[in-house]
């Protein structure tokens, strides 16, 4: 029952999302939507390793940066002009990110729990340093530029990016949904609950962890590529940015890790709020304080995340409804 309800909700949401640009071509709305969908994808992708397997990575921004640089370099070296062309190369950027993720994961996934968290941070900083120092490849601290899309009117220009981010977010959600229902997902959950026990029971924990990590990284890399193209210029410290790592983790936790809808809800709430807050009250320099307060309140009030808490409340309300006594044989059932 809940399965079909969820599927209908997803379909409805997708329909609304697809139609949005047709209803409102206001670039400032589309701009916020692009960044929001970006985080929907990022949080969902992160959740595959962080929520499903319980391996909290705080270094995913490294993969985001790899994707941004990879796409920029591909577009630059192949001489692809601005327009629809760069979008076609996004999957290649994803593959390149995956290629880096495998050895990184190989080393990082040997550690557990808090050590893993910090190792991912270390790897992220290493990637940032490489991006800054390999000047011949990445342009170093001078950054890397993307071609501007020619011929798109200012009112239209955000639309292809909107659909690109929507597409990637949808791919991420589909991937997460498919994984969760599969043997891989079951194995990841077993790893999260008790890894040593899972290993003892014959679950191929190593293969599962590395797969989940790589898939998660590839998705994040592709999203990073589209981001780089959208903001037209990539700098090492702005794409390999700890705040991006933290934001996607936050959104997943806010919405509820381990669920599919959780990261989506988290991103839909947090990103527009952040962009709007900074724009409207940022001048008062209270922005950081307000953000921190909001954050704390939510965590303390909803520690397991919005979606599970809401689901629990709904579930317990249903359970509290009085159940009619079964009719005795021969008696008519009460109306």
């Amino acid at each position: 029952m809940r399965q079909t309800w969820g599927a209908w909700a997803a379909a409805a949401a997708l329909a609304v999302a697809l139609a949005l640009p047709l209803a409102s071509l206001d670039p400032s709305v589309l701009n916020i939507a692009v960044f929001t969908l970006m985080y929907v994808g990022l949080a969902t992708a992160w959740n595959i390793i962080g929520g499903f397997a319980g391996y909290i990575s705080l270094g995913h921004a490294g993969f985001f940066g790899i994707g941004a640089y990879a796409l920029g370099l591909l577009v630059g070296h192949l001489g692809v002009p601005g327009g629809y062309g760069p979008f076609l190369l996004v999957p290649v950027a994803g593959l390149l990110t995956a290629a880096v993720a495998v050895p990184v994961g190989w080393i990082a996934l040997r550690t557990r729990a808090a050590t893993f968290v910090i190792v991912t941070i270390a790897f992220m900083f290493m990637l940032q340093i490489l991006a800054t120092n390999l000047r011949g490849l990445t342009g170093g601290s001078q950054g890397l530029g993307y071609p501007a899309p020619e011929g798109w009117s200012p009112r239209f220009v955000d639309v292809p990016f909107y659909y690109a981010m929507l597409g990637l977010a949808a791919v991420a959600v589909l991937a997460a949904w498919w994984i969760r229902g599969s043997k891989l997902g079951l194995g990841l959950r077993a790893i999260r609950d008790d890894e040593d026990r899972a290993l003892a029971l014959g679950v191929p924990t190593w293969a599962f962890k590395v797969t989940a990590f790589t898939v998660s990284a590839a998705l994040v890399g592709m999203i990073g590529g589209v981001y780089g193209y959208y903001v037209t210029y990539v700098y090492p410290q702005f794409v390999v940015d700890p705040l991006i790592s933290l934001s996607m983790v936050l959104m997943a936790f806010l919405g509820g890790t381990g669920t599919i809808a959780g990261p989506i809800v988290g991103a839909l709430l947090l990103e527009p709020a952040q962009l709007e807050l900074a724009y409207s009250v940022g001048e008062a320099r209270l922005y950081l304080i307000l953000y921190a307060v909001l954050f704390l309140v939510v965590i303390l009030v909803l520690p397991s995340g919005i979606v599970p808490t809401v689901a629990d409340r709904v579930g317990s309300r249903r359970a509290r409804q009085p159940v009619a006594p079964a009719p005795a044989p021969g008696e008519a059932a009460p109306p």
Binding site: D26, P27, S28, N31, I32, F35, I129, T132, N133, G140, S141, Q142, G143, G145, A148, P154, V157, Y230, V231, T232, Y233, Y235, Q237, F238, L243, L275, A278, Y279, G282, E283, R285, Y287, L288
Partner: protein
């Protein structure tokens, strides 16, 4: 009597008409200028100074009647030093708030993405702080860097002065160290090339990451080189750290110049005790005592509003103020605030600002040169070229006390 009053009204109307023309929205509506400033994050110190400079200009121009007879009003938004936010901000300012004009944010890092947005909508984008080379090779003609010289030539005055010294006075060796930053590194590379060609031997050169927090090892290495001249590409934290380490190591170069830090007024001098700022040089496009257009008024207004002393005024505020001045003059010439016309106008002619005279080439790069400024007696004074010098350069730099 009636005829005179009718005539009088007619005269007033005729005189008043030009003031009403130009710019939509009616003559009583203020002109809104949208700017994203970094009020949080890495650039927040500079962002605040920009905001101060912009606001002072607005108050000044409004006191004199505004632009094309309309008052000027800023809409400031905070980008928290973030790319996503600066892009969102300019999108919102242009398409949601429909600002009339846009001015630039702080740093090349934020200016580049922001300029893509402004240019897309045909807005002129004069900016005070984005001068790194890549700002100008994006093929946009609406971007204007309002400082006297492109960043890469920032140290040109210094090299010229150094090489103009008598051969037996001239430094024989130089040490270079710079942050890996699109603003500082190009300047140092250019300066080193020029000095090497002039016969100054390079005895040390290093590039360090911008996120370094501990500059002492590098400063030690520079001190060890015992170079005659030290050229550093810094921001405040490293500018201060190098000076402190040189003091601790009793290393007295005959000439010391830092690309940024010594121009930040109080933020620099309140950390260097004992009068030891004496002799430190910095390239600058502005200084408090300069006899440039509107500078007196600017300095007085700044001190009246924000207190402190002239030495504590940050150059960022003067740069922002210059943006306003340039636009004011351009608007004055074309009698309109239409962005396309403004862009065309800015590509020609000379503009007088608190940073001196400037003109912009086809890419929006300024084609002047910055000056050499030195700390003397607790104040920064221009010392070179002679035409703008207030005092002769102190050389060699006095030893640390």
């Amino acid at each position: 009597m009636r005829t005179t009053s009718v005539l009088g009204v007619a005269v007033m109307l005729t005189l008043g008409a030009p003031a009403c023309a130009g710019g939509g929205g009616g003559s009583s509506q203020p002109i809104t200028i949208g700017v994203s400033v970094s009020l949080d994050g890495d650039f927040s110190g500079d962002g605040k100074a920009l905001e101060q400079g912009y606001q002072l200009w607005a108050d000044d121009v409004n006191a004199r009647g505004g632009l094309v007879g309309r008052k000027v009003r800023f809409k400031f938004v905070n980008d928290a030093s973030s790319t996503q936010q600066v892009v969102t901000n300019y999108q919102n300012l242009i398409t949601r708030d429909h600002v009339d004009l846009t001015f630039g944010p702080f740093s090349s890092l934020l200016t580049i993405p922001a300029s893509s947005i402004a240019s897309r909508y045909g807005y002129a984008f004069p900016e005070p702080a984005g001068g790194g080379p890549h700002v100008f090779d994006r093929g946009l003609r609406d971007v204007f860097f309002v400082q006297p010289a492109p960043v890469v030539d920032n140290l040109a005055s210094y090299t010229r002065w150094l090489l103009s010294l008598a051969p037996d006075q001239r430094p024989r060796s130089a040490a270079y160290a710079t942050e890996d930053d699109p603003f500082t590194q190009p300047q140092l590379d250019r300066a080193r090339a020029l000095l090497e060609k002039g016969g100054v031997q390079t005895v040390y050169t290093k590039v360090y990451p911008a996120e370094t927090t501990d500059f002492t090892p590098i400063a030690l290495a520079v001190a060890q080189s015992r170079a005659d001249a030290v050229v550093l590409g810094t921001m405040i934290p490293d500018a201060v750290a190098f000076v402190q380490t040189f003091q601790q190591q009793r290393f007295n170069p005959r000439s010391l110049i830092e690309t940024s830090g010594p121009d930040q007024g109080g933020q620099f001098s309140d950390k260097i005790t004992g009068g030891n700022t004496e002799g430190v040089m910095v390239p600058a496009g502005w200084w408090p005592s300069a006899k440039t257009s509107g500078n007196d008024r600017f300095v007085r207004a700044f001190l009246a509003r924000y207190g402190g002393d002239a030495g504590s005024i940050s150059a960022d505020a003067a740069e922002a103020y210059s943006v306003g001045q340039v636009v004011e003059q351009a608007v004055g010439r074309i009698h309109s605030i239409d962005n396309a016309q403004l862009t065309d106008a800015l590509h020609s002619g000379t503009y007088q600002t608190v940073q001196g005279a400037m003109a912009f080439d086809s890419k929006g790069q300024p084609n002047g040169s910055s000056f050499l400024v030195q700390w003397q007696g607790g104040q920064t004074v221009p010392v070179y070229p002679a035409a703008v010098a207030v005092a002769p350069p102190e050389y060699p730099k006095p030893a640390w006390r």
